[in-house]
């Protein structure tokens, strides 16, 4: 049963992603990516990563993509503007290179013996992928420091630099 749900979500994920890079209108493209993130959240949930699935919807589909929508709204792009993005014949060169590389990767993955040997373990830790597991990794327990405490502080510095960079770049007249 879970296999069929994986096939359903995976097909939807690939289809919506392809639609996203084919659409001329940026609004259609962004909305298609939002739906692909919902499919990806479903795949995360199938891998029993509940918290990550929720964060995927909350942050990616709910905040990051809304920022894209804001930008498109801010620019108010006309059809004459975005329909200048046409497929040229010289684009076939990167496309062919991508297809060759992707075929190589996929054949390598499908023939790899080491990947085939890993099967999903039925006996997961009881809090695998839950909120408390994330919390113990970040903050440690009552008598130890978490393994990723430093990473947690670095994330705050990353967010601070993002705030400062965005304000400086968008406020000033360049």
């Amino acid at each position: 049963m879970g296999v069929y749900i994986f096939y359903l979500f995976g097909t939807g994920l690939i289809a919506t992603s392809i639609v996203a890079i084919l659409m001329k209108n940026p609004v259609h493209s962004v909305l298609s990516v939002v739906s692909s993130f919902f499919f990806l959240a479903g795949i995360y949930a199938g891998l029993s990563m509940q918290f990550l699935a929720v964060i995927q919807i909350l942050v990616y589909a709910g905040a990051i993509m809304v920022l894209f929508i804001f930008i498109i709204m801010l620019f108010d792009l006309q059809k004459s503007e975005y329909s200048k993005d046409r497929f040229l014949w010289r684009d076939l060169v990167p496309l062919a290179l991508i297809l060759i590389t992707a075929a190589g990767f996929i054949s390598a993955i499908s023939r790899s013996e080491s990947i085939k040997n890993y099967v999903a373990n039925a006996k997961l830790p009881s809090n695998f992928g839950s909120v408390s597991a994330v919390s113990f990794e970040f903050f440690g327990t009552s008598n130890s420091v978490g393994r990723f405490s430093f990473l947690f502080e670095v994330i705050s510095i990353l967010l601070l630099s993002a705030i400062v960079g965005a304000v400086v770049l968008a406020k000033r007249k360049l």
Binding site: S17, L47, D85, A133, A170
Partner: protein, 102 residues
């Protein structure tokens, strides 16, 4: 449950879809959306390896959180750059941004 190789193949296909979007499209906004697709492909690979191979830890999920934070920062700064370009040039098409060429 589907085998690990299918998850990794899905992640690979998603990554190359995003790469195609970056290389072929000329709209900056859609190029940044494609970068998001590529980041999500890497997230999927991390999470799949965590579930199938290193299931007694949560390292892949933690790295996915880091990548989500990086994506948020990248989008904030990148779209600010797009706004600065749009103010100057009134366009988001990269074929019109050819000041360095002439």
């Amino acid at each position: 449950m589907a085998p690990l190789s299918l998850y990794i193949m899905l992640s690979t296909i998603l990554f190359f879809i995003g790469l195609t979007g970056v290389l072929v499209r000329r709209n900056i906004i859609i190029m940044m959306v494609s970068i998001e697709i590529m980041l999500n492909a890497s997230n999927l690979a991390l999470v799949a390896f965590n579930r199938f191979r290193f299931y007694d830890s949560n390292d892949g999920m933690i790295f996915s959180f880091l990548i989500i934070a990086i994506a948020a920062a990248e989008v904030a700064v990148g779209l600010a750059i797009v706004i600065a370009i749009y103010r100057k040039k009134k366009t988001v098409m990269i074929q019109d941004l050819n000041v360095m060429k002439h």
